[in-house]
Each structure stands twice: as C-alpha cells, then as structure tokens.
C-alpha cells in the first residue's frame, strides 16, 4: 500500500481472499448492567460480544465505564435473561403473566428488572427466591408491582452473573485523574480571548 501512514505501509500483504464470516465469528452476546453510583440501582446499558463471561466483563468495562462515574458493573449471557412480553399503553405486564404455583426443589436467587417507561432502560428492582424464572416473575409481581405500570420484566438467576469484586472496584478510582477525557479540561477560552484582543481579523 502507498499510504501517508508508515504503519499502514508496514502492514503485511494478505493475499488470500477474506471469506465471508462464519457464524459466531463475533461470538455470542452478554448483557451489561451498570451501577452509576453507590446506593443507586443497577441499570441495563447494552451488550458486548465476547467469547466468555470473564472477557465480557473486561470488554463491558472498556465499552461502558471508560468515561462516566461508575460504582460497579456486572454481565450475564443474553441467553440467561428470562424475558416477559412487552406491553404498552396502560397495560401492566404483570396482568398478562401466567400464575405460577410454588415449585418444589431448591430455590435460588433471581435479580428482577423492570421497564417502566418505553424508550428508557431496564432498572433493577430487587431479588426474589424461586426455583424457576417464571416463578420468580410471579413472585416479583407480588413484591415489586406497586404503582407504576410495568411494561417488561427480566429475571436473571444470580448465579449466572459475573459481578465486580470489591477489589476490582479500584479500577474506577483512576477515572477522576484522567482529565484528558473531560471536555472541561480543554479551556481554550483564555487563549482565544488573548488571541482575539491581539489580532485584528474581526
């Protein structure tokens, strides 16, 4: 290649054709949940593609918490999120969910997420103990369905989540020092003013 960029010129020539990508070349997806501040609930932020849960956590940190203050984050395989239907208008999704009788078996924790405004993010409302995710939603309906219309519910088995450990939270302590990432660190105002006073363009 004849590029202005010496690094591009140093790239190896690839002679073989680049074939269409195989399925899962970009891996599966993981849902990312972020706690913006200590004491605030976790909220859904988006997804990352990753080969496993551990790398999903690493990539989530890079993609979603590079810039904004963040207290904690966790990730879960998209396939491990149990999703209710989506309702609209004044129809509460809990009114359309089936009744589920208490199941026998060993219970585990499920994290419950609500969508209370279309277009916004799903927000964590609490944890319930159940055997099945359907049952977890049913229980959530009794515990967390108070006043606002809920349009969509997610139930995630807690043991499928990759949480952030207390030690790892130190990762975000460096954020305030990285001033070069802040708009407010680029104060051109004084320099501009001085320049305008000296110049006679205007």
């Amino acid at each position: 290649m004849n590029s202005l960029d010496p690094r591009v010129n140093r790239l190896p020539q690839i002679t073989e054709a680049v074939l269409p990508k195989a399925a899962l070349d970009q891996f599966g997806t993981y849902e990312v949940f972020v706690q913006p501040k200590e004491g605030k609930p976790f909220q859904h932020e988006g997804i990352v593609h990753a080969p496993n849960l551990e790398l999903a956590w690493v990539l989530a940190k890079e993609t979603f918490t590079r810039r904004f203050t963040c207290a904690s984050l966790y990730v879960v395989d998209t396939r491990d999120v149990y999703v209710s239907p989506l309702t609209e208008g004044d129809k509460n999704v809990y009114d359309v969910l089936p009744q589920v009788a208490e199941q026998s078996g060993s219970k585990k924790n499920f994290e419950i997420y609500h969508l209370v405004k279309r277009g916004k993010q799903h927000v964590h409302v609490g944890t319930v103990q159940a055997v099945l995710p359907q049952e977890a939603m049913h229980l959530a309906g009794k515990q967390f369905n108070h006043s606002k219309v809920v349009f969509n519910v997610w139930a995630i088995a807690t043991d499928t989540i990759r949480f952030t450990t207390d030690e790892e939270k130190e990762l975000w302590l460096t954020l305030p020092e990285k001033k070069f990432r802040d708009a407010s660190d680029y104060k051109g105002g004084d320099k501009l003013k001085e320049f305008l006073e000296k110049s006679n363009f205007n």
Binding site: Q26, T29, P51, F201
Partner: protein, 327 residues
Amino acid sequence: MYGGGNTFEGIKTDNLAQEDPIKLAAFEARIARGEKIEPTDWMPQLYRKQLIRMIEQHAHSEIIGALPEGTWITRAPGFKRKMSLMAKVQDEVGHAQLLYSAAETLGKSREQMIDDLINGKSKYSNIFNYPTFTWADCCFISWLVDAGAIVNQLANAKGSYGPYCRALDRICAEESFHLKYGHHCVIYLASGTAKQRQMFQEALNRWWPPMMHFFGPSDKISAHTEVLMRWKVKMGTNDEMRNQFLDMYVPKIWELGFTIPDPNLKKNESGKWEYTEPDWEEFKRVINGDGPCNKERLEVRRIAEARGKWVREALKTPKMSYVTPLA
C-alpha cells in the same frame, strides 16, 4: 462520526401497501405520540431496513473514521495531545461497538455487517476517504467533522427507535470532549506561528468540500424522504443539517481569522446560509469507491480481520449460540 451516504440511495415505498394497515396505523400513532419503538414491537419492513442501513453505516463511519485520526497518534505534538487523541480514537471505536449492537437488535448479525463493510457493499461517511496530510488535518477532523457529526447525532437521538436513541445519548455525551479538544487544538494553531496558521488554513482548504458533502446531497436532488421523516428515522433534511452546522461553526472559524474557500458563503437576510453547491459528482464518485483513500481504508480493515481470525477461532467454544441481544 456520521453523515451522508444513507440518504443517497432512493427508497421504495410501494411495498408499504403490503403491510397490515391496522398494525401500520398503530405503529404510526405510537411514533406520533412520541413513544419509542422497541426491538420486539411490530414494525414495517421498510422501517427495519432503513434503520439497519442507517445505524450500520453510522457504525462503519465510526470505525473507519478512527483511521485518518489514528494515523496521527504516533506523531501527535506532545504527550498531552497524544493522550487526548488516543482517548478520542478509542471513543470512536467504542461508538462503533454501541451502534453495531443497536443495529443487531433489528436482526442483522454483526458478522454480516462486517462482511458488508469489507466487501464495499455497505457505505460509510464519504469524508473519511480523504487523507490527513498534516497534524492540522487531524485537528480539522477532531473539531469540525465531529461538530458535523454532533449536529446529526443530536437530531437522531430524538428519533423513534429506542436502542439507537439510547446509544446516541451515550455517544453525544462523549462527543462533547471531542469537540472541545478539537477546538482547543485549532485555537493553538491559530494563535501560534505563521507556519502553524498556514498549516491549518491549508487543511481547511482541503477539507471544506468534503465537509459540505458530509450532510448529503442537496434537498433539490436527494431522494424523497417524507415517510422516513414521519417515522422519525430521519430527523431533518440534508440542507437543514448543513445549514445548522454552518450557522454554528462558520462564525467560529472566521473568528480565528481563517478564510473559508467559498466566495459565495454568506448568511442571507432570512438567516439561511448561501454557498456554492459542492461538486455532487465528486461526492458520488467517492461514495462509490473512487476517493483518494477508499482502497486503503478497506484494505486496513481487511488485513485486521484476516490477522485477527486465528485469535477469534481459538476463543470459540462449543457452548456458543447466537440470540438477538435484548435492547
């Protein structure tokens, strides 16, 4: 980064007649009420297709847009500028990640999108097919191309598709640093030596025509987009976006004593900017692959894909299966 290409090809509205009229009416009513459309909602085929195309092109523009600026990381003037530029370029690649994800919720796989980029089947913003000769070209991009992108992105953030709007809200928040950083760089060149001033003036001369192309063809010649406006896929016409950009940034460029290479550029009594129509034939040529850097940009992506392949294959596990991401 974003602009241009998506509005270049015309759209066919005749298959709208095949949509269920009751569902279509409910869909349109929801948008008219200002409610967002979410991935599992019913939507017309045309809406899905247009959004995929637009969000995908936006994603490609971010990832290709990282190349002309990325070139200057190794040669940035000073450690501080190097850190800032690295952070900015990392942001742009992050934007691509967010946007690809939003497009995936509509049913197109990331594999397919990357294939289409590399094969030249899907477009990206034409402006990144121009070279960055000097540091000043890089400063032009950071300040003014990003400014143009922000005009588009702020408008699109008020669109109708939930996942795209949420991605754009994040992106816009990060863009504010890009804009301030870029302006800071240009102020330093403007208040520097005669040589520095000349360097930026020359960059401005080179980049002005592609910057005018950035918002897409003039409304007089561009495809009819009424239905896309009604569905809040497109939030303003190309000329409206261009005018907004000129209104916000021409005074800031003039303030620094630079000359914009268009003798007809002025604001008329009604507050609209008048300018020489840019060369739309050149725009078409570049969009269709014949710009100064098209080949290099795609080749760099192609090589990156090929070199990374063994890593991706090594990381694959039999447990994987694909499901459409949630939101």
